[in-house]
């Protein structure tokens, strides 16, 4: 539906180039929406899929592809919790800290994770393997306490399960 806007400005490029495949994927997303801005979150996710996070220079690059302002793109990138504007490890562990998990052993699970990984929220293990982050209720409350590693949801997870569970993510 929406067409990307081509802008002719006096400002030159700042070096960062979107991977051509990513650019194509972003443009593909535009088809679903009335306006190009709507593909902003998709675009950030596409870039994140490649780099693990959204590097600074990707912001104006995405803005250019979508024909919107870089301020708007950064505003979106920093709003959503699953868009990472700082580098993360190869795997992201999202541990649910909401009420049902809190009532069923979150504290112990979280502590076990911190012990196991040696990092707290926001931290990345020194081998760059895991980054630990909290997440809202994963909608797995009948399997609480729950956590998510990359795209996989686990629950209920006991501290004892952790070492072998993490093993699956080299």
């Amino acid at each position: 539906m929406a067409e990307p806007v081509s802008t002719s400005t006096l400002i030159g490029s700042d070096g960062f180039e979107l991977h051509p495949a990513d650019e194509t994927a972003i443009l593909e997303q535009l088809k679903h929406y009335e306006q190009p801005q709507a593909a902003c979150i998709d675009a950030l996710k596409i870039v994140q899929r490649r780099h693990g996070w959204v590097p600074d220079d990707a912001i104006p690059a995405i803005a250019r592809v979508l024909g919107i302002g870089p301020g708007a793109v950064e505003g979106v990138a920093t709003f959503y919790s699953l868009i990472f504007r700082q580098p993360v490890g190869r795997h992201v562990v999202l541990v649910c800290d909401s009420s049902s998990c809190f009532l069923t052993g979150f504290d112990e699970l979280k502590q076990a994770l911190v012990n196991e990984l040696g990092v707290d929220y926001g931290g990345t293990t020194s081998d760059n393997r895991f980054t630990l982050l909290p997440v809202c209720c994963l909608g797995a409350c009948d399997g609480a306490p729950a956590l998510m590693i990359d795209n996989d949801t686990y629950g209920p997870v006991t501290p004892d399960d952790l070492p072998r569970l993490l093993e699956g993510y080299p």
Binding site: G75, V76, Y80, S99, G139, D142, G143, Y154, G155
Partner: protein, 460 residues
């Protein structure tokens, strides 16, 4: 990932499930779940069609009267399952249509992030076509030309299932131009989010869909007047939309009858329980089922613990006490007790749980998930968190509890821009009311005494 997967991955992998066997469910009594399979596999198109799938679309589109669909829904009084309980039929009747109004959007709210809520996931993972069918009917009634399923990013499996089902439906002519030869065209895209609870608020959801920051919008204008990209838009919860096909097929009276004389709200509801119970889970039960019945299905409290309090429908509902267990769980009854039905998924609190700690956890959630638009929520909630943290550590001061009272009151309905902060206020207000003594125990200092810095600041 194709490597050999340690067995732990399999054993702890979370799977959404319904704790009612096929034998217990029938088309007459379990409109939402009767088609579900015991093996938990998704019901794909063939099977769905075999089980009366798309019959109601066929029926409604053949009759050719969108207004009749709305009338049916209004009469059945299907109340929104997203938490607010607003009549879907009434909402639809307010959508701007006709004249030079452009055709708009039908948006399914599949953001399910309310703590304690895990019902929409089941419907999407196991019965995607029911949702699609509901959406087609909704689109037909509201003259929507395009639909979005706004799905939270973490529901990876739902996205996979829905996308496959949408492809199936499109292939079979249930989506796309001229659906089933009716001349009506409609299609659906799955839009996945990137986190943030506030995206579930319908107007914030629309902003997020438009690729913007998920700040809610002022109402009026309501989405039905000016929604996505300013077009008339309808936002309904997954479960709400899944109710539509059966209503259209079987009629309003049948629907009303489903709940018997338990309540004047009709239909069934996906009820559930989480927290320290023996068998946390989900059941499709008649609207107005009591907390006691549901808790019994869950096998009661785990390890013989005592029930201290419960939330009837997610973190943003007010605490109820054991004495409330015998009330029919419908919108109005729960409302009268100073709480809300919310999503109808119970969270139970055992006796030994500190209400101060639990409130701290809840308020951390609400403060963290504030969109940051309006002042009471953005700056008031973090203050409640700090006060609760202080009380939890015995560092409370005289006056802190009154301050919490005031903060809860100041975050009430109408005072904030959207219902997020009131959702934070309701559990706080009820906890302070029912369990004030626990909070009082945290007051260890006279007012204004110098504090050691830092008070634990927490993650907020």
């Amino acid at each position: 990932m194709s490597q050999s997967i340690p067995s732990q991955r399999q054993s702890t992998q979370y799977r959404s499930r319904l704790l009612q066997p096929e034998t217990e469910r029938s088309a007459d009594t379990h409109p939402l779940t009767w088609r579900l399979r015991d093996d938990g596999e998704a019901v794909w198109l063939d099977e769905y069609l075999r089980k009366d799938g798309y019959q109601s679309v066929r029926k409604a589109l053949n009759e050719g009267d969108p207004q009749a669909v709305i009338a049916n829904m209004k009469e059945a009084n299907v109340r929104g399952r997203g938490g607010a309980g607003f009549s879907a039929g009434l909402k639809w009747s307010l959508t701007l249509q006709g004249g030079d109004m452009p055709r708009g959007y039908l948006i399914c709210n599949a953001d399910e992030m309310e703590p304690g809520t895990f019902k929409d996931r089941l419907l999407m993972e196991q019965q995607p076509h029911l949702l699609i069918e509901g959406m087609i009917l909704g689109a037909y009634a509201n003259n929507s030309f395009y639909g979005y399923i706004f799905l939270r990013g973490e529901y990876v499996e739902s996205a996979r299932v829905l996308n496959r089902a949408i492809d199936e439906a499109r292939e079979a002519g249930w989506l796309g131009p001229d659906i089933n030869g009716s001349g009506f065209d409609f299609d659906i895209a799955v839009h996945t989010g990137a986190g943030r609870y506030i995206c579930g608020e319908e107007t914030a959801l629309i902003n997020s869909l438009e690729g913007k920051r998920a700040n809610p919008r002022a109402k009026p204008p309501f989405p039905g007047q000016s929604g996505a990209w300013g077009k008339p838009s309808v936002v309904n919860n997954v479960e709400t939309l899944c109710n539509v096909p059966a209503v259209i097929l079987n009629g309003a009276d049948w629907y009303q009858g489903l709940s018997g004389d338990r309540t004047k709200d009709g239909g069934t509801k996906l009820y559930g329980v989480s927290g320290p119970v023996e068998k946390p889970g989900l059941w499709e039960l008649p609207m107005g089922t009591t907390g006691a019945e549901i808790l019994e299905r869950a096998g009661g409290m785990r390890d013989n613990r005592q029930l201290k309090a419960w939330l009837p429908g997610g973190a943003s509902t007010g605490f109820l006490l054991p004495e409330h267990l015998d009330l029919p769980l419908d919108f109005d009854t729960v409302g009268k007790e100073g709480s809300r039905l919310g999503t109808g998924l119970l969270t139970v609190v055992p006796q030994e749980m500190s209400m101060v700690a639990l409130m701290r956890n809840l308020e951390e959630f609400f403060a963290r998930e504030s969109c940051g638009w309006c002042t009471p929520c953005r700056d008031g909630l973090p203050w409640t968190v700090k006060l609760l943290q202080a009380l939890e550590h015995g560092q409370g001061e005289e006056g802190d509890i009154e301050l919490l009272d005031k903060l809860a009151a100041d975050c009430g309905p109408g005072l904030t821009f959207c219902a997020h902060a009131p959702g934070a206020a309701m559990p706080l207000e009820t906890a302070l009311r029912h369990f004030r003594h626990e909070f009082e125990q945290g007051v260890g200092k006279p007012r204004g005494e110098a504090h050691e810095d830092p008070i634990p600041v927490g993650q907020v």
